[in-house]
Amino acid sequence: MKRHVRWIVIGLFSLITGLTHAQENLIPEDSIGFRDFLILQNEIPGVSFRFQIKEKLISDRLLTDSLYLFIKTDSGFLSKLFSDFGQIRQLEMPLHYDSLQYKLHYLVFSEVSSVAATREYLSNRIQSGDLLVQFEEVAPSDDLVSLASYAPYLPMQRFKLRFISDYKLFIVTGVIAFFLIIATSMIVAMLFMKAKINKREKLRKDYDRLIIDPLTSLLFEKEQEEIELMKFDDIYQYFPEEMLAKPLYKDVLIDRIIGLNKKMKGDFKEKLKAIFKKLSLDKISLDSLSSSEWDKVAMGLVQINEMDLVEALPKVKVHANSSNFHIRSQAVATLLNLSEKVDLTFLRDQTFPLSLWQQMNYLRIIRFVRHQKDLKLQILFDSKNPSIRIFGYKLVSVLGRVDLIEHLAARTGEVSDEEKIEILEVYSTLGAHMEVGFINDCLKSENAELSMAAANAAGSIGDSVSADILVGLIAVETDFRRKHGFLKSLYDLDRDRFELATSTNPETETIEILKHILDPMLQHV
């Protein structure tokens, strides 16, 4: 496209410069040629000429000739001004006859001008379109070669139409025409596309109607085993062979079966899956995994997930670490849903960070499948991706996997503060009293967020050491919110130490926090 634009610009530039150059070339540069050029033009507005005879004496016949009206000057005789250049030859004849030395003076707006100045003036008039140049007509009877010698190469000089001679108007018209053509083409293309889409939509509706009856009959008339044992000839009685050859018909069938599968339960679900496979629609789903269009791949993954196409899992696994968010999410969801043994390595090896939406989605599936499958969540702790590790810690908490606290404890020495905060939440949720040492270590941390998370955990599972640390923190803390947090944790952990700490601290701020904590109405404010 860029190359085309470049060529268009070059073309327009060449046309403009070529036209300008051509217009200038119309006027000969030599004085004889220029005189002949003027003769052809006849009258030119603003331009006139006169004769100057340099002799000291001229005949009485010329002197008294009313055609010339010669007057005597210091440099010779000057004629009156003539405006019709076509008369030049006729006017020169008597001068030639008397063998007089004469000169032509050109005048622009009654001012004597040189040949160059007059030429410049005419050139400007021609360029602005004020003057239409006349050319010598060559007799058509001459042969071509002779004719060519009479006609010097002057581009564009033969354009009789004023429209074409005016290159600016020509270019503007060209540009407008170009845009009109483009706009028209776009409208035609849009109409074509719209018609195509409408036709497709109409066909979809028609196929939809055609599908309802056979699908309903099949679901109610046949058992799942019968559907699985059906031969193609039997299938064609419900869904005609020529229709099954049409990709759009199959698309509608897939949409309908998938849609119905979501709204049905019990044996109907199994029957739908059997029909899906019997019609070889699973092959379409599998093929779509190799598509270069991400939406087709994602749709294929949804179909595999919905129709429990376990045999497609190796192909699905390939997409588990796809750079496309939707493909990746669907692939992981499908693997979690369909894998017989979910070892979660595909999730561990993901290099892309997990979004909150993905975490919610995976959690929903994991919650659903955890009773049927042995999930080895600890695999996620070994991931190189911090978001996967944090998701693993969250799962321990949400699924109540107390058995994994030992795995978590083994990792606390090497993880980041962000992960420590998540682990503290797990300990707090699961009541991991045996890990109070880790909580106390975190309470001493210089990371404000980490020490606050540790204080929250200490409020529920802390010990006397935690209370000592909290008292120390309260004494030195200046930030209101943090102080409030520490006091609240101490209140939850040890009421006596809390009362002691507040009674020995006469600060107004502490008294305000104390009132706030003790007031049951403000407990959640």
């Binding site: 109607r209 009959s217 709204k263 679900k269």
Partner: protein, 119 residues
């Protein structure tokens, strides 16, 4: 023969329900939006209404309102997705629907509930 009016915008679901209920010997009538549903209630005077909640033009709740005002004796079964807000389900029951069947559903189960409601 008992007349059952099925108001459901998903043609495939309504056809399945119709097919199943016809097997049990009921006379069934299908309409696919709320406006048609209200018109059909007046014209058909059905013995039972099975309606979806989310539909074009008028919702299932509006249909229940209308049916309970004009023909309060007609029992109504709501057939809708579980994703529907709890408040909508409660409102339907408050209006006096006979039963609520969440989607995904089993047409055989629906047939049993229909039989029970029409007894």
């Amino acid at each position: 023969m008992k007349k059952i009016l099925i108001i459901e915008d998903d043609l495939l679901i309504s056809s399945l329900v119709q097919f199943r209920l016809k097997k049990d010997g009921y006379e069934t009538h299908l309409v696919c939006d709320g406006n048609e549903g209200i018109k059909a209630i007046d014209e058909l005077k059905p013995d039972l209404i099975i309606t979806d909640v989310m539909m074009p033009f008028r919702s299932g709740i509006e249909i229940i309102h209308y049916a309970k005002q004009t023909q309060p004796d007609i029992p109504i079964i709501v057939l809708s997705s579980l994703g529907e807000e709890e408040q909508v389900v409660l409102e339907a029951f408050n209006l006096g629907v006979a039963d609520f069947i969440p989607k995904p559903f089993n047409p055989n189960e629906l047939a049993i509930r229909v039989k029970r409601v029409l007894k």
